[in-house]
């Protein structure tokens, strides 16, 4: 009998547990169906999707007397969306059906780089002629649309914030909110460790942050990638690397998800971290009511970028899509992003804590906003002219230099700190801060003698970049006379290159084109070398030129990373050895 009671109790409990979430679940909130449906692919979180849909359907119903329903497609982060859209459009292009579209109307959120370079930059679509594929042509995945000029003029009195575009002049994309990047920190931890509140990036290089920095992996998170790029752009190549290397040496570990940074900081597992503005602000308010966690945007040292919306090529609902853009740029549409919940113009359920893009919102409504910061005045500052973007190389470089060999980096950093001998202590940072170089002559020896294989060509192609790198370092470390020598060496090299390119059939067309392009760049570079002021140009070209190679051969990126990793690992060991001498 007792056995049966037990069994019945277990069975009843089992059923109760099983049924609980099914019976209790809140029915999904959705706008009344029946009207038109707008399909939007977006990495935005549920809170943003909810508020935008609610506000837009209300506005649309009132203005056009017609119900509109937004069907969100949430297919992961920005990089997932890029992959999906590119593969779908490439498949369409092969069938010559690009204008049929992919069944989605708009894409919303992911940062200006994603929209301007990856979506507007688009794909290489084949043009099919009589004899099959004749040539290829770049087509954008976004479709330019024009919006009401009155709305446009009111929304963007200036086309730029600092030097970043707020919208694409042809209408490929329109910025809706602003994003900046900063430091999130925990007051309790800072107090316990005797640290002042950080104001800017270089504050985080303090050794007292050792083991207490929360950082995210730039190869997974687009927002931290922009942050690291911003540091390099603001501080310049050398000081930027100097800062990043130390901050990374202080890191506790590297989270794949950017949201882990504010979480870890708020739990006191880290003293400070780098993240996108609304993550920091949201966590600051949500945990400890602002007293425990703080967020600061380093004035003048961060970047402010637009977070856009765009219409996809072949969208079926262009009319409603344009209305959504116009709504989001209106005062009502802008108010949902930073007004409190109890404000009549604010959001219904979730406070989003994002910065509106209309400058007049700050002029008129700043006192009604939660975050009373005007990015146009308080944060944004144009970059120095000619500042390159390191965006494409940041993940690989940071992996090789800091993340994959973090134990070595950290040990070297600790060794420098713990060394008492002033002579050694002065010598160690120089070793610690070295960056990889390769001797031209050494690489040049590898040039194939008997017809180039693809792999060797790639290596060869690489050679020129090393030649450039060599010149760079000659200039930096040895002085100007060495540049002259290096230039002379490079001229020889270019002569050889030119002969190879011009010799018919020596190279596949694809490579010849690449070389020719690079060749021009090298010549431009030599011109730039003469002008020491423009050295910065040189660095950009140096680094950004890696990207096409990586794109063509995924192993080339691996090879670069591996070579760099070995270099840095060796270097950190040397620093540690110095301390033990």
């Amino acid at each position: 009998m007792r056995g049966w009671t037990g069994r019945i109790v277990v069975a009843v409990l089992f059923v109760v547990v099983l049924v609980l979430p099914l019976a209790w679940s809140r029915p999904e909130v959705s706008a009344p169906r029946g009207g038109r449906t707008l399909i939007i692919i977006s990495p935005h979180n549920e809170q943003i999707r909810y508020e935008v849909e609610r506000a837009f359907s209300a506005w649309h119903a009132e203005k056009y007397d017609e119900a509109v329903d937004i069907n969100w497609r949430n297919l992961g982060g920005t990089s997932d969306i890029e992959r999906i859209l590119k593969s779908r459009y490439t498949a369409l292009a092969k069938g010559g059906k690009l204008e049929d579209g992919v069944g989605m109307d708009m894409v919303f959120g992911g940062g200006d780089y994603f929209f301007d370079v990856q979506l507007k930059g688009g794909i290489e679509a084949p043009i099919v002629g009589d004899g099959g594929i004749v040539e290829t042509q770049r087509v954008s995945l976004t479709e330019p649309v024009t919006i009401d000029p009155a709305v446009l003029a009111a929304a963007y009195p200036e086309p730029l914030i600092a030097d970043k575009m707020l919208y694409e002049p042809d209408g490929h994309w329109y910025g809706i909110v602003l994003a900046s990047f900063g430091i999130v920190y925990n007051h309790d931890v800072l107090n316990a460790r005797g640290l002042p509140v950080p104001r800017t990036w270089s504050d985080l290089t303090d050794f007292h942050y050792e083991g207490w920095m929360a950082l995210a992996d730039p190869s997974h998170s687009g927002s931290v990638r922009v942050t690291y790029d911003a540091i390099l752009q603001r501080y310049g190549w050398e000081r930027g690397m100097h800062t990043l290397r130390r901050v990374f040496a202080n890191a506790r570990y590297f989270a794949p998800n950017a949201s882990k940074v504010p979480t870890d900081v708020s739990y006191g597992n880290a003293a400070a971290g780098m993240c996108i503005d609304f993550y920091g602000r949201y966590q600051s308010q949500k945990i400890g009511g602002g007293k425990r966690v703080g967020y600061v945007a380093p004035a003048g040292a961060t970047v402010v970028t637009a977070d856009p919306i765009a219409v996809l090529r072949g969208a079926r609902n262009k009319e409603v899509a344009v209305r959504l853009i116009e709504f989001l740029l209106s005062v009502e549409g802008q108010a949902i992003w930073n007004f409190p919940k109890d404000d009549p113009m604010g959001p219904a359920q979730f406070e989003l804590r994002r910065a509106p893009i209309r400058v007049d919102m700050y002029e008129q409504y700043l006192d009604r906003m939660i975050d009373q910061v005007n990015p146009f005045v308080d944060i944004a500052k144009p970059l120095a002219e000619g500042t390159p973007s390191y965006f494409s190389v940041v993940p690989t470089l940071m992996h090789a230099m800091c993340m994959d060999i973090h134990a070595d980096l950290n040990a070297a950093w600790v060794a420098i700190e713990r060394t008492d001998d002033p002579v050694k202590k002065a010598a160690m940072p120089a070793e610690f801060d070295r960056l990889p170089t390769t001797d031209i002559a050494e690489v040049w020896r590898d040039v194939p003698a008997d017809g180039p294989s693809a792999e060797r060509l790639a290596k060869w192609y690489d050679t020129h970049r090393y030649a450039l790198a060599r010149m760079q370092w000659a200039a930096d470390t040895l002085g100007e006379e060495h540049i002259v020598a290096a230039c002379a060496g490079l001229s020889d090299l270019i002569e050889q290159l030119r002969r190879t390119i011009d010799e018919p059939g020596a190279l596949p067309t694809d490579f010849a084109d690449r070389y020719r392009h690079q060749h021009q760049q090298v010549e431009r570079m030599i011109g730039a070398m003469a002008d020491h002021e423009r050295m910065i140009d040189f660095q950009t070209a140096l680094l950004t030129m890696r990207r096409p190679l990586w794109k063509k051969f995924s192993w080339a990126e691996d090879a670069d990373r591996r070579r760099w990793t070995a270099f840095f690992k060796d270097q950190y060991r040397k620093v540690i050895a110095l301390s033990k001498e």
Binding site: S87, S259, Q283
Partner: protein
């Protein structure tokens, strides 16, 4: 008779085809993928990617770390479980029944969920450091960095506390089968207690030890969820998980999978040949029940102590999860226990039981797991019946195939399904057809239900086959033969005689398949790519990173899962009694 043969081999063919399609094919695709490269649109063979795994310092370290984790976990699990198993077979003491079943609880409480609790307990400003501080220990400016500084050991500890029951069950079963007369003979010949243990008992239970240790080794070598939750990226499974992002372009993750698979299978075979061969167990069978010594008073408590200690340690992270699920956000901070409790993470607007996304994923998981369980029971019963009763030619092969998932990391199979989805998708696209959603993993609008159900089913098939085989071996054939003699058809005999007789085994096997499917991590993380189709594990993983109340709601979902699985285990052990251990054998 001929019709019978047709049925028999027809069923055999169906089973082999299923396993070939959903087990052998994905593994083969993955392995081949590691050796292929695209040059100018043509497929060429290369060893470069596989060699690169050993050249690349990052991947090499990842493999070494994974191996080290697996070795540490296996060694520690043995160290924990062997003495406990010896104690429980040798002695009777107060509380033995309760504690030997409590020992099994960690098995169904996955470390993946436990990590959430552990982070609350072991954070720098978490419960343990606060406890230390309140006792005047520890440095306030530099509290112990348990999770940051000791992630390797954190992963090892979590996995040991999760997996030792597998060793315990296997060793206990081997000890129970031990013929006590062997030991008595040795004792008569003057062997000391230690010599008897070393020379008689250990060699005889070696197959059981090997069986448990192999499962634990392969499990921990390929475990994805635990290191992922610790953000410990320097292990091979996590590198493969992130590598999937570049699936379409790079063969490198495939190559890493190939190396992992080779290591797992290689070690399994080496163990089987060196240790499995030296099996004396088959020669003797316990003819007398082993005598247990009754311990009372102080001695009984002394023996109980290790059981209580291990159980306490093993459920600690899960107690942490339960507390976290009840914590008002931000009030478990610099305090031993949460300062404010709330039910909001369960029943609030965004709570685990009410939120559309969270409860939707619970619903998804239930559907996937029930379907997987049904596939498993049908397939497991058929395979067991064919192998044990029908004695088909090639039965050994079928049995070996069904056991294969034990030696093959779940990650490899999941990865193989992704490769299948690309192949099948390519076939559709080449013909200008739209790829149906249920055949996509990464694509415009994928629905992972088919792949997930099959993945769950294949992964847990061995347990159901073992469970059903054990049942069939223990039921006499006479009853079936009598039914057949009386003119019942084969199908009717199975339905009316066989199934009722082994119902307990089927239910227990099915329930275990169900609970493992509910908390399966690697397949779920890789195969479910769209939010509306997330199973509970992927939702917990995502929620864990949501700002604000995310980790707490994730805990609440974990608690719900733990409650369901605990009830499942209790139900299964009520059905099966002591036979529960038989399922976790290879």
């Amino acid at each position: 008779m001929r019709a019978n043969l047709v049925y028999k081999y027809g069923l055999y063919g169906v089973c082999v085809a299923f396993l070939a399609l959903f087990l052998v094919w994905p593994i083969a695709l993955t392995v081949l993928g590691g050796f292929q490269t695209q040059i100018d649109g043509r497929t060429a063979w290369t060893l470069r990617f596989v060699l690169d795994v050993f050249v690349d310092p990052v991947m090499r370290d990842g493999l070494i770390n994974s191996l080290l984790i697996a070795c540490c976990v296996t060694a520690l699990s043995l160290a924990v479980a062997l003495p406990l198993a010896l104690l429980s077979t040798r002695f009777d003491f107060r509380g033995k029944t309760i504690f030997s079943s409590l020992l099994l609880v960690p098995l169904i409480l996955p470390p993946f969920v436990g990590v959430i609790g552990l982070r609350m307990l072991l954070g720098r400003y978490g419960a343990v450091n606060s406890l230390l501080a309140s006792m005047g220990l520890g440095d306030e400016a530099d509290p112990i960095n348990w999770l940051g500084g000791w992630r390797f050991f954190g992963v090892v500890m979590m996995e040991v506390l999760h997996l030792y029951p597998i060793v315990y069950l296997n060793v206990s079963a081997a000890l129970a089968n031990l013929d006590p007369s062997m030991e008595q003979a040795a004792a008569n010949l003057g062997a000391s207690r230690w010599t008897r243990l070393r020379r008689i008992v250990l060699p005889l239970i070696m197959p059981g030890v090997f069986a448990g240790a192999t499962i634990v080794f392969i499990w921990s070598f390929t475990e994805l969820g635990t290191p992922l939750m610790f953000d410990y990226t320097a292990v091979a499974p996590v590198q493969i998980f992130w590598g999937i992002q570049e699936m379409a372009t790079s063969a490198q993750p495939y190559a890493l999978v190939v190396v992992m698979l080779a290591i797992a299978v290689g070690l399994y075979l080496i163990g089987k040949v060196t240790i499995g061969r030296r099996s004396y167990a088959a020669t003797t069978r316990a003819s007398v029940a082993a005598t247990t010594k009754r311990l009372t008073g102080g001695k009984g408590l002394l023996v109980l102590l290790p059981f209580a200690a291990i159980t306490f340690l093993a459920v600690m992270p899960h107690v942490g999860v339960i507390l976290a699920s009840l914590t008002e956000p931000d009030t478990w901070y610099q305090s031993v226990l949460p300062e404010c409790l709330t039910m909001a993470h369960y029943i609030g607007e965004t709570g685990a039981l009410r939120d559309a996304d969270a409860s939707g994923s619970i619903r998804n998981s239930l559907i996937y797991s029930v379907l997987a369980m049904m596939v498993d029971v049908a397939l497991g019963l058929t395979i067991a019946y064919l192998v044990v009763r029908s004695r088909v030619i090639g039965g050994k092969l079928l049995d070996a195939m069904a056991m294969m998932p034990l030696a093959v990391p779940g990650l490899v199979i999941a990865f193989g399904y992704v490769a299948i989805s690309f192949q099948v998708g390519g076939w559709f696209e080449a013909r200008g057809l739209a790829v149906p959603g249920w055949l996509q993993v990464v694509g415009e609008n994928p629905n992972p239900i088919v792949f997930l159900v099959i993945a769950y089913a294949v992964r847990r098939l061995p347990y159901v086959v073992r469970s059903a085989s054990a049942g069939l071996e223990q039921t006499p054939r006479d009853l079936e033969e009598a039914a057949l003699n009386l003119g019942a058809s084969r199908w009717r005999t199975v339905r009316r005689i066989v199934m009722p007789l082994i119902m307990a085994n089927l239910i227990a096997g099915g329930l275990l398949a169900f609970s493992f499917a509910m908390l399966e991590v690697s397949d779920s993380l890789i195969l479910a790519q769209t939010s509306e189709h997330y199973p509970i594990t992927k939702r917990i993983y995502e929620l864990f990173d949501r700002l604000g109340d995310g980790p707490y709601v994730a805990s609440a979902m974990g608690v719900w899962g733990m409650a369901l699985l605990t009830l499942t285990l209790i139900g299964a052990s009520m059905m099966l009694g002591k036979k529960l251990g038989a399922i976790f054998r290879i």
